[in-house]
Symmetry: C2
Subunit: 93 residues, 2 copies
C-alpha cells in the first residue's frame, strides 16, 4: 500500500472522530500505542508486534491528517539516503 | 512511496547500525522521536511537524525491520475499515 493511500484511509476511517478530539488527544493515543509496541517488542509474539506496529502507524497517520501534513512528503526526506550524512548506508547515526 | 519500499529503504540506510544497537535501543529512539513530534504538534512549524513525523515513521520502520515484521502487512489490517467495528467511518473509537 502507498503511504499516501494509507494516510487517506486513516482519514476516511477515523478522521471525523479523531479530529473532534483534537491534536493533544491523538498525541496521547499515539504515545499509548508506542508503549504497547515497546511491550510487544520486548516479550510479544510476532502477531502482537505486527498489531502494535500497525496501531503506531495508524495514529501517526491520523495525527498527520490533523496537522495537515503529508506523511508521504515526510518519508520523502529519506529518499536520497540519510538526511544528515546524505549516504546509504548512514555513517552518522 | 510504497510502505514496503520505505521499510526497505530504512533497512538499507540504517539496518546495520540499528541492528547492532538492538531492539531496546530502537524503542528508546522511537520514544524520543515521539516526544519531539509531541512538541512539534503543540508549537512547531509545519516544516518541523513534517520532519518529526518522518523521524517517527523512520524509527517505526527500523524497529519493524529488526523484529522481522512487514509494516505493509501491519497496515493491511486497516484495509477493510476499522479492525474493531469493521466499518468506515469507525463507530467504536
Amino acid at each position: 500500500m502507498e503511504i499516501e493511500a494509507f494516510q487517506q484511509l486513516m482519514g476516511d476511517i477515523y478522521g471525523e472522530r479523531d479530529g473532534a478530539r483534537g491534536v493533544a488527544a491523538s498525541v496521547a493515543w499515539l504515545t499509548e500505542e508506542v508503549g504497547e509496541l515497546a511491550r510487544a517488542a520486548r516479550k510479544g509474539s510476532v502477531d502482537e508486534q505486527r498489531h502494535e506496529l500497525g496501531d503506531v502507524l495508524a495514529w501517526t497517520a491520523s495525527l498527520a491528517n490533523q496537522l495537515g501534513v503529508s506523511l508521504s512528503a515526510a518519508a520523502a526526506r529519506y529518499a536520497d539516503g540519510c538526511p544528515k550524512c546524505a549516504s546509504t548506508p548512514c555513517t552518522c547515526r
